[in-house]
Amino acid sequence: MVQLQLQTTPSQATATNQWAWLPSLRLALVIWRRNWHVFLKNAFTDVTGLVMEPIITLGAIGFGLGQFVGQMQDGQSYVEYVAPGIAAGYAMFNALFDSAFGFYMRMSSQRVVAHMLETPVEVQDLALGEMLWSGTRGMIACTIILTFAAALGLVASPWAVLVTPAGFLVGLAFAGIGISASAAARSMNSVTLVFTLLATPMYFFSGVFFPITSLPGFAQPLVWALPLTPGTYLIRGLMRGDVGWEHLAAALWLAVFSTVFFFLTRWLLRRRLIK
């Protein structure tokens, strides 16, 4: 999917025109690095924000509410059940937060994106770079929660090392949603709709806090189609060490979802930015 474009001579340029829609991984990584640099600069505030909320949730819901829940169907304690869900949920929130609000700012008032498009960067490089970055944010959040859960003895299997790339996949899927929302939004206020209409309902109905088998039958295929359900399923399986082909399918679904959203993102950004 990705083509590396280094120095192109004019003759090559004509030859590569039919592939002109392909993103340049090199340029996408320059954009990624720019965002990583800004993240490191604000690391203390960013990481504190990143860590505190999920830990509070895990403490209050997992340990607090968990005492009243007792055991889950398959013998897990409630806190063991809920920890992977929170990891997936915060991969989602972090990726969305950056791709929706953060990117919207970079695109509108800050004009960071406008400058990129004056350089050899094309819209597809921008879409890829920003998606990879938001995916990384999801991965970081997921890994921090994994580490914390491991310290509390809530991780049962070495498969859990794969939670980090799984968090990246969840982040990537939501980055696609967030950037598309930013590109389509008319104002910062409309960007918030992604949270109220999508992220918050998903957080509560995607198997983070209770199995989706408790949902009415018609709703179950619907929540599987949205990326947090396969994400939670995948991360839960990895933390528990109970891994099968269904988990690979969940990972593939996230990859397909992200790829489709890459093209949607590219189209929406083009419509908004190339005038």
């Binding site: 340029a13 025109n17 320059v30 800004v38 800050q110 960071v112 400058h115 004056e118 350089t119 094309e122």
Partner: protein
């Protein structure tokens, strides 16, 4: 040598609005080419199309022999672009702004860092390398934006209103850089509505209004053709302006209004100015400038807009 920019009948429409209405021009390698025109004339739109940022609605536009729509990435790779206003990155330092820019053009890291140092010295911001962009003054930001565009040693430097709102020190400093890079072979394309800037820098200009080219030539040619050698600048009250215009017209002299002044282009204004002084009207006789060309070609419409 083939011109670095070739524009043939280029049109840009935004829904109802036609911003650029069929412009044809060529920019030669190594010259400084100016787009002169009032606000809203289509200068910015034109320069954005040349820079492969905004695709033309119709017409042909080539930069360095490449189509701006089909080979946008390749076109932008040889350009240095300074847009109007400020699009510096507020989240990173002065130094990092330059470094990230260098990376977009694929410069190897050591070379990129070397050029960043060189640029910081050049734009006199070496002691502000760690500053946030928002802490810089307007002049510093502009110097940084221009230095950033020059860092990649572009074949064509495109600048939208290079010195808008700057003090004379910064303005002259920036003009000097432009002359220097031009000596080194860089082509310059700039938009301006500052006549001093156009006269000081441009080898050739086009005057644009309402998305159309009204005149083209060197500053001297334009002044000679459209403003004559001298002008009389007369200040009379609004009610008497029409009367004087009629009087001049009787003698075959064209005149036009510029703000509250009435301007009469002519070859020798001695007799007329004496006559006007006799009437008790103060008439300033002065050599014609590019500003007179500008006012004459674009002024009437501005007056209509303001009515």
């Amino acid at each position: 040598m083939q011109p670095i920019v070739i524009a043939r009948n280029v049109v840009k429409r935004y829904n109802e609005l036609t911003a650029v209405n069929g412009v044809t021009f060529a920019v030669n390698q190594g010259e400084c080419f100016g787009l002169l025109g009032p606000n809203g004339a289509g200068k910015t739109t034109t320069i954005r199309m040349v820079c492969a940022i905004s695709p033309p609605t119709s017409g042909e536009l080539f930069v360095d022999g490449k189509d701006v729509v089909r080979s946008g990435r390749q076109v932008r790779a040889i350009l240095g672009v300074v847009p109007q206003g400020d699009d510096l990155d507020p989240d990173v330092s002065v130094y990092t702004n330059l470094l990230i820019h260098a990376r977009f053009y694929g410069l190897p890291e050591p070379e990129a860092r070397r050029r960043v140092e060189e640029t910081l010295e050049k734009v006199r911001l070496a002691d502000r390398r760690k500053s946030e962009v928002d802490a810089l003054s307007g002049g510093m930001k502009r110097r940084l934006a221009i230095g950033r565009a020059l860092l990649t040693r572009p074949a064509l430097l495109a600048i939208d209103e290079p010195t808008l709102g700057l003090d004379p020190h910064n303005r002259h400093l920036i003009w000097d850089w432009f002359r220097e890079v031009k000596r080194q072979g860089t082509t310059l394309l700039l938009t301006t509505n500052n006549m001093d800037e156009a006269s000081a820098l441009c080898d050739r200009l086009i005057i644009i209004d309402h998305g159309r080219i009204l005149a083209e030539g060197t500053p001297q040619e334009l002044v000679g053709t459209h403003a004559g050698t001298q002008v009389l600048e007369i200040r009379v009250t609004a009610d008497r302006r029409e009367m004087y215009r009629a009087r001049f017209a009787q003698r075959g002299l064209e005149s036009y209004e510029a703000g509250s002044a009435l301007i009469v282009p002519m070859t020798d204004g001695t007799a007329l100015s004496q006559e006007l002084e006799h009437d008790g009207v103060s008439a300033l006789r002065r050599p014609a400038t590019l500003e007179d060309v500008f006012l004459r070609l674009t002024g009437r419409d501005i007056n209509e807009d303001m009515r």
